[in-house]
Symmetry: C2
Subunit: 464 residues, 2 copies
């Protein structure tokens, strides 16, 4: 008869019995087809209640260690030997970012100013949005995105970017990356993807990982070059016309029309307009979007709240031309939305209640002042330094004319605690001649004092 | 000289000048290389200030309609003719779900009970989480997911599912669909994907859309059949061992070991364990996960908060074996997390503060009672009705033995205002013989009275 050495480790008794028997079966001490004692016998033998044994046998049966044959009793099931590979992989620990040097001033092009975030508005909105009476708050989000948010966007995008669309054409996504992946689902792998060079690297990587043929086309001072686009017949052209990333120029109207005409002349050509930070243009009012000029349903317009609200809120949007909508919805019907209903509702209220425009106007003013400060500080560096891409966004580019390489610029800056961002990684086939010795300086999160201190240190680092 | 018919539509003066000139250029009235009046002349001619003209010219230059040639003046740029296709696509309106009949009782397998959602706990947690002092609240989420949430999950998954992992192995995603797409990025298109038949359709659709070879393998009463798996060398096998979807059985230990051994014997084979509703098991304690038995790093464990918190919270998690981690992180480094930091932090606190387990225990009790009610109600239908898959989750299956087809069952039920869900769509190659005349009845969102009313109506609808 089986003897169970009760250990009383705080488990239930039935768990001890279950575990003991399970281990005996795995070890082969109790063999296939061996009969277990009846519940009553086992209970009396172990001096526990029949219910306890019943629970243990129940669990063993549920997991498939034991089966009950009516009128015969309980029998051990056949359990395969478990094969184990001899060597086990060594754990790959995730490396902490190897930044030995302490960063004092970080000119990150992605940072925003935390101090102007409208905490109170969001508190109010949470209170108003999160309540027992809105059952949709707990339901799966609408596959295209919350209707309230799409409605708010139709209006907002028309006023701010000239985008003309119905709420049916809007897809809410969880970041630009996510929407680009969705586009890939729409087209499959045969579509060539044409990207600007230099380029927003995440877009490049996403399309490449997806297995599409990815082609990069150099830009000139007006944006993506037109001539290399002409020979393609089945392609999507990804551009950042408002504010080329990373170089910062905006595409003039003539190039915009030429680009649209490339698409207008081939049925298989579409344009993806990533309008990622169009809210932040300082000298003129924002340029109208490509989508607003497009009359043939050739432009897929993508925008995000990463820059205008916060990078932590993973909400972006895409306006699909009507021609693509039907196919997209057939696919979307099979895939859930990745964006939480609660945050969608909160952003919808943030826009509809007027907080969004107020906030963007405030931010534009703040960033404009930071930009002026940075430009003034850069004047101190003398005429070896030329500045470009300064009219929009949260970063500008600085090029050095004293022969120092980009790598040295970054390295020497870091030695003094200042982090600047090289432009070369954004070039797919190596940095072009005109963009040697060039770095990005972002100013979104820095104070006036930090900007002056940072530029003062760069002056020293770069021998100016 | 140009005359501008000011309309005073509430625009700024400079905007009217800008728009007028822009339209003249687009229309060709102002031609390429034509010289515009100097700012001063224009201003005096229009009786506006030079600053106003300056702003208008500035915008025209920024958009590329006009260029300034130093010491010569302002000239019209060359603008291409814009090609427009003759016919424009007809808008595809998104169709409202065509449910003419009013649904009185919906036996949806995906619904949860809104009445037991812990609104107050979430209000408390929002207050504690959303504040000015946590700068990470606004920053881009960690690519793998918020460390707090991953830490809470290590502990929770160990206690509830026997899953052994470090927080480094956890990836937070925005739903199971999203994580399956991520896996696709990891492997590319050469990996065969093997799915259970019948299957969770979204998984099937995702892998198919991704362009992988998708193979479906029939299940028997223990789960996925082993023999058809043997010939594969480079495949991922997607299974739902805790609670097969949709049929509801759980995989016994012997089949689990056999399945793991298939993976143990081929380097290229992995198992994806979708443990989507393991929290809800009513008769025995939940079966340990496949991941907890796996000793060779062959199981990718996926779970979600859709069922245990709410479908609107798009948060899921994946535990990667260490062998896959390095490759994954290289990719993840290039793609942003789609999950909002705020919600990740809120769920982390919900778990760490003990609310999660309390809530799940409460829900388990509530669903267990609903399930008993449903079983009792089903007894009324007599012995033409057999019930399966009732031990776990939020739904069970009902099969009719009176010769009525599945389609008629659904249709007749709907005519009386009761929505039941056919099992056949989950079968890839048509429903198998054993699963004819079978429907899913979900009970997550129904009250006791609704369950009795619904089953009463089904009795009538199905001639029982």
């Amino acid at each position: 008869m089986i003897t169970i050495p009760f250990k009383n480790k705080g488990q239930f008794l039935y768990e001890e019995i279950y575990e003991y028997l399970k281990n005996e079966i795995i070890a082969g001490s109790l063999k296939y087809q061996e009969k277990l004692p009846s519940k009553r016998n086992m209970a009396s033998h172990l001096s526990v209640s029949v219910n306890t044994v019943d629970a243990a046998y129940g669990q063993l049966m549920a997991e498939g260690y034991v089966e009950s044959i009516p009128k015969k009793g309980y029998f051990v099931c056949e359990i395969d030997t478990y094969f184990q590979s001899e060597k086990r992989a060594v754990p790959e620990k995730r490396s902490a970012k190897s930044e030995f040097e302490t960063v004092k001033i970080d000119f990150s092009p992605n940072a925003i100013d935390h101090r102007i975030f409208p905490y109170d508005a969001f508190r109010k909105i949470f209170k108003a949005t999160f309540n027992e009476y809105d059952l949709n708050l707990l339901n799966k989000p609408d596959i295209q995105g919350e209707p309230d948010l799409r409605k708010a966007l139709v209006d907002l995008l028309y006023r701010s970017r000239g985008v003309i669309c119905s709420e049916d054409q809007i897809i809410i996504g969880s970041g630009t990356d996510h929407l680009l992946q969705r586009l890939d689902l729409l087209w499959g792998r045969n579509k060539e993807i044409i990207l600007e060079n230099p380029v927003y690297l995440k877009a490049y990587n996403i399309f490449e990982k997806m297995g599409n043929q990815v082609i990069s086309v150099d830009i000139d001072e007006k944006g993506i070059r037109i001539e290399p686009l002409m020979k393609h017949k089945n392609a999507a052209i990804y551009v950042t016309p408002s504010h080329q990333f990373p170089l910062g120029m905006s595409m003039p109207i003539d190039r915009r029309i030429k680009l649209l005409n490339v698409a207008n002349q081939e049925e298989g050509i579409y344009i993806i307009e990533d309008d990622y930070d169009s809210e932040f243009r300082y000298n003129e009012k924002p340029l109208p979007s490509l989508q607003s000029i497009d009359k043939n349903g050739k432009v897929i317009y993508i925008g995000t709240f990463s820059k205008s609200i916060a990078p932590s809120m993973r909400i972006s949007y895409m306006v699909l031309p009507e021609t693509l909508l039907k196919t997209y919805l057939e696919i979307a019907d099979q895939i859930s939305s990745p964006v939480s209903s609660l945050e969608q509702k909160m952003i919808a209220a943030f826009i509809a209640d007027g907080f969004f425009e107020k906030h963007v106007n405030k931010m534009r003013k703040v960033y404009k002042e930071k930009r002026i400060t940075l430009m003034n500080a850069l004047h101190q560096l003398g005429d070896q330094v030329s500045v470009t891409g300064e009219n929009a966004g949260h970063h500008l580019l600085v090029q050095l004319g004293n022969g120092m390489t980009e790598e040295t610029m970054c390295c020497r800056a870091m030695n003094l605690g200042v982090k600047v961002y090289p432009v070369s990684p954004y070039f797919i086939h190596g940095v072009s001649k005109n963009h040697q010795s060039m770095v990005l300086l972002g100013y979104g999160s820095l104070t006036e004092a930090e900007i002056y201190e940072g530029i003062g240190l760069l002056k020293k680092a770069w021998d100016l």
